[in-house]
């Protein structure tokens, strides 16, 4: 127990919480924008995976991490367009389509990787770039806090900014207002003469872009390569985090931090001789517990 406490209360640990929260946070925001529009995008997992590969491929072919990031984001948007096309235009079931896209992504990324490198597991043969860490002047000099806040990856800051940006977008812009409206009362939007499908498509494309950032973080920051199925359920954890955060950007941020904490804990517990098979369970166990608590509360709330 003592080792555990001494493990948690270190700047390294807290800094690692923030690092591992990044992809979950981006995925959570991706889920959030789609679910506010009334379409639950469960293909975030597959979108991130696809973007993770495309980021690696893009950066190795262009030689630029930034172009790689751009390609990852575009890939995420394109991948989400598939969901939008099938669900909104062809009226397929959104959950089934999401599952199909996730499975497709899992297989297709390995296929692409094999075509490009001859390897089926990792992209080490591609000379891909990583996104830089950023030291913030002044803040980096603050004791303790500086070590935690400064020196994180570019995308970590981008993720935090995305929370605020999304909040403003949803509340203050026209498109954001329509996204909220369409999620709650599509008829109201339709009778106002706006296309429900177009608004939902916009939301899905934004969702894909955010997931693309999350995928890029995985292969260009968290690791410096692509590995098979490297998203490892983060896209699904994001669904739980968004539900816990009750579709509110800031509460969802807090919820993703909780999952980030669990993730970091599971990484660190391995250091103190707890079998890794057991520690790996922690984030997923927390997901189930969190969802159970959330569901119980929702049930109690709707008692009337």
């Amino acid at each position: 127990m003592e080792t555990l406490v001494s493990l948690i209360f270190t700047t390294d640990f807290i800094s690692s919480v923030i690092r591992v929260t990044t992809p979950i946070l981006l995925a959570t925001m991706a889920v959030l924008v789609s679910s506010r529009a009334g379409v639950l995008n469960i293909s975030i997992e597959g979108t991130m995976l696809f973007s993770a590969l495309m980021g690696v491929v893009g950066s190795s072919y262009t030689g630029s991490a930034w172009l790689g990031l751009l390609i990852a984001v575009i890939s995420g948007v394109a991948f989400s367009y598939l969901l939008a096309f099938f669900h909104l235009r062809l009226k397929t079931d959104v959950i089934l389509t999401g599952i199909a896209l996730n499975l497709f992504s899992s297989g297709f990324t390995v296929f692409l990787l094999f075509m490009l490198t001859g390897d089926k597991g990792v992209s080490t043969k591609l000379a891909s770039k990583v996104l830089p860490n950023i030291n913030i002047p002044f803040i980096e000099d603050i004791p303790v806090l500086g070590k935690i806040i400064s020196g994180q990856n570019f995308l970590t800051y981008a993720a935090v900014i995305s929370v605020i940006a999304l909040h403003i977008f949803l509340r203050k812009t026209r498109t954001g207002t329509y996204i909220r409206a369409v999620g709650e009362s599509p008829e109201a939007v339709a009778t106002a003469g706006k296309s429900v499908n177009n608004i939902r498509q916009t939301a899905l494309l934004i969702s894909g872009g955010l997931a693309g950032l999350g995928g890029a973080f995985m292969s260009m920051a968290y690791l410096s390569m692509f590995t098979k199925d490297m998203i490892a359920g983060r896209g699904f954890i994001a669904l739980a985090a968004e539900a816990m955060g009750m579709s509110n950007p800031f509460l969802s941020f807090l919820a993703s931090l909780l999952f980030g904490f669990a993730d970091a804990l599971s990484n660190n517990l391995q250091l103190i001789n707890i079998p890794s098979e057991l520690t790996r369970v922690v984030p997923y166990l927390l997901t189930i517990i969190a969802l159970a608590i959330y569901a119980a509360r929702a049930k109690a709330k709707s008692k009337s």
């Binding site: 403003i168 203050k172 812009t173 026209r174 207002t177 329509y178 909220r180 409206a181 709650e184 009362s185 008829e187 109201a188 939007v189 339709a190 009778t191 106002a192 003469g193 706006k194 709330k301 008692k303 009337s304």
Partner: protein, 516 residues
């Protein structure tokens, strides 16, 4: 001067039914024009065509002398036609201002210009004297206010012709009065109102002209003052409607359901039902009156087992229902016609047949051996469809394809053929046409005479006083009056009890519980 003409409009739906057949409908500028007809007569379709929600198969719409063709509601709005839908189209979490301006927000550089938006809506609501808190989210508004927001929305979008689809169906009498004042004020300002309603009395009160539709055709357009309510209703159903119910005095027998000091609090610990005691006997119709939101919904939910009571006791057929499943209450003879028929009454995407047998699934008469028999089900359904005069293509038709009145008939056909001893009917004729309502009224009386107990909840005082043998008035979750001689009570008196102006003595109220 006709502001609007609809010429020879025809609309055929996919199932081959003529929703509109060569309808000629015209409205003068600055009048309130009633459009009446039974459910399924084609009023809604005609208005959908007018509002650009449906495209007519043939015919022409002329607005202010120019032929127009609408591809979408936006086209209709652009030309000054606005619609207040029966089911409100408001986004719950958006404020009144946001809802009103939705789709037409004034813009700043990147963001919505909230100040201008609010100012515009404020001006509009001042002009038309529609007093609303503009910053309140729509979810927190009362029904009457929501309707005002809908009207405001239409006006904000530049409507000069307002279509109101059964606007009073959801309103309390007080709200209805207020709405009428506002509509008349709109008329004074030169607006044109098309008012869809079933309530003939309201049409007489409010409108200048009335157009009657029957089976997809427009059968008459007349000045309202030239016709009586009876004449309008006979034009609607094509036959005489007596308007009153013939029934003999009740012969009440034993108590079927006994409610003793029942209480229920909502999650904010507000007592919604606060100590209600009464009983319903076999062979009588007990009506429950009350302004919406005074505990009647919750009371019925507790009696039917949808909700558990906090304290007190409810006994049905001689035993407590405290821990009873709804299915066992039904097995013992309880029948329930819920007010929310689309959610609780039917499975809309299933066939009439499936809906009819949904509560008879344990009935051996629809089985052959261990399996359900399609032919026996079809036989039973066909009989119910004809007995209850459900208008449909076949009993395999999806319920959602039916009109409101016919959907209610499906519910009633199922509930009335359960060998029920106790029928709980909640708003049984709300929003349905005169013909269907009369049919249901007569059935209820018939069942009462055969020894059923009926507990009737209705917002329609007319229905309540005509049908009930005794009336319980609820106010603030408590009984404020028990009226045994229903024919002697006036609606004004009832209104006073409903609003809590008057209250009977405890001993009078105590008589609602019959000891036997």
């Amino acid at each position: 001067m006709d502001i609007l003409q609809m010429n020879e409009i025809s609309k055929v739906y996919g199932n081959g039914i003529y929703a509109n057949r060569r309808v000629n409908f015209s409205v003068c500028e600055g009048e309130i024009h009633a459009l009446v007809g039974e459910n399924g007569a084609g009023k809604s379709t005609l208005m959908k065509v007018l509002f650009g929600l449906e495209k007519p198969d043939s015919g022409q719409i002329i607005v202010k002398g120019t032929p127009v063709s609408f591809q979408s509601p936006q086209d209709a709005m652009a030309i000054g036609i606005g619609m207040v839908h029966q089911h409100f189209m408001l986004v719950p979490s958006l404020s009144v201002t946001e809802n009103v301006t939705l789709g037409f927000e004034p813009m700043g550089k990147a963001f919505i210009d909230r100040k201008t938006a609010r100012k515009k809506v404020q001006e509009l609501s001042d002009t038309f004297d529609l007093k609303i808190d503009l910053d309140m989210p729509a979810s927190k508004l009362a029904v009457g206010i929501k309707q005002k927001v809908e009207i405001l929305k239409a006006l904000y979008r530049g409507a000069r012709i307002l279509i109101l689809d059964e606007p009073t169906a959801v309103l309390t009498p007080q709200e209805t009065v207020e709405l009428f004042i506002q509509l008349k004020a709109l008329k004074e300002k030169g607006f044109t109102v098309i008012f869809i309603s079933h309530k003939l009395r309201e049409i007489k009160q409010l409108t200048d002209r009335v157009s009657v539709m029957r089976r997809g055709e427009l059968v008459a357009s007349v000045n309202t003052e030239d016709v009586s309510e009876e004449e309008i209703s006979s034009m609607m159903i094509g036959g005489g409607y007596s308007g009153h119910i013939v029934k003999s005095p009740a012969v009440p027998k034993e108590n079927l359901v006994e409610i003793k000091d029942v209480k229920w609090k909502d999650r904010n610990s507000v007592p919604v039902v606060n100590g209600v005691t009464f009983s319903v006997r076999a062979g009588e119709i007990v009506g429950i009156a009350g302004v919406e939101g005074n505990g009647q919904d919750e009371l019925i939910e507790m009696i039917t087992g949808l909700k558990r009571y906090d304290s007190g006791e409810i006994q049905m057929f001689g035993s407590s229902i405290k821990n009873e499943e709804i299915s066992s209450l039904r097995e013992r003879g309880m029948s329930y016609i819920p007010s929310d028929r689309m959610t609780l009454g039917v499975a809309t995407s299933m066939s009439i047949e499936n809906n009819l047998i949904s509560t008879k699934i344990n009935d051996p008469s629809i089985y052959s051996g261990k399996l359900l028999s399609a032919s026996k089900i079809a036989q039973l359904s066909a009989k119910l469809v004809s007995d209850f005069r459900i208008k449909c293509g076949s009993s395999k038709t999806e319920v959602s394809m039916l009109s409101g009145g016919n959907i209610q008939k499906v519910v009633v056909a199922r509930e009335f053929t359960q060998n029920a001893r106790l029928i709980i009917a909640e708003q049984p004729t709300r929003g349905i046409d005169v013909g269907a309502a009369e049919f249901i009224h007569n059935k209820l009386v018939e069942l009462r005479d055969s020894g059923c107990g009926v507990l009737l909840v209705s917002a329609d005082l007319d229905e309540l006083t005509k049908l009930s043998d005794s009336i319980i008035v609820l106010h603030n979750g408590q009984i404020s009056a028990y009226i045994e001689n229903v024919s002697a009570v006036s609606e004004i008196e009832l209104g006073h009890y409903m609003l809590g102006v008057n209250k009977q003595s405890a001993s009078d109220i105590g008589r609602a519980y019959h000891t036997k």
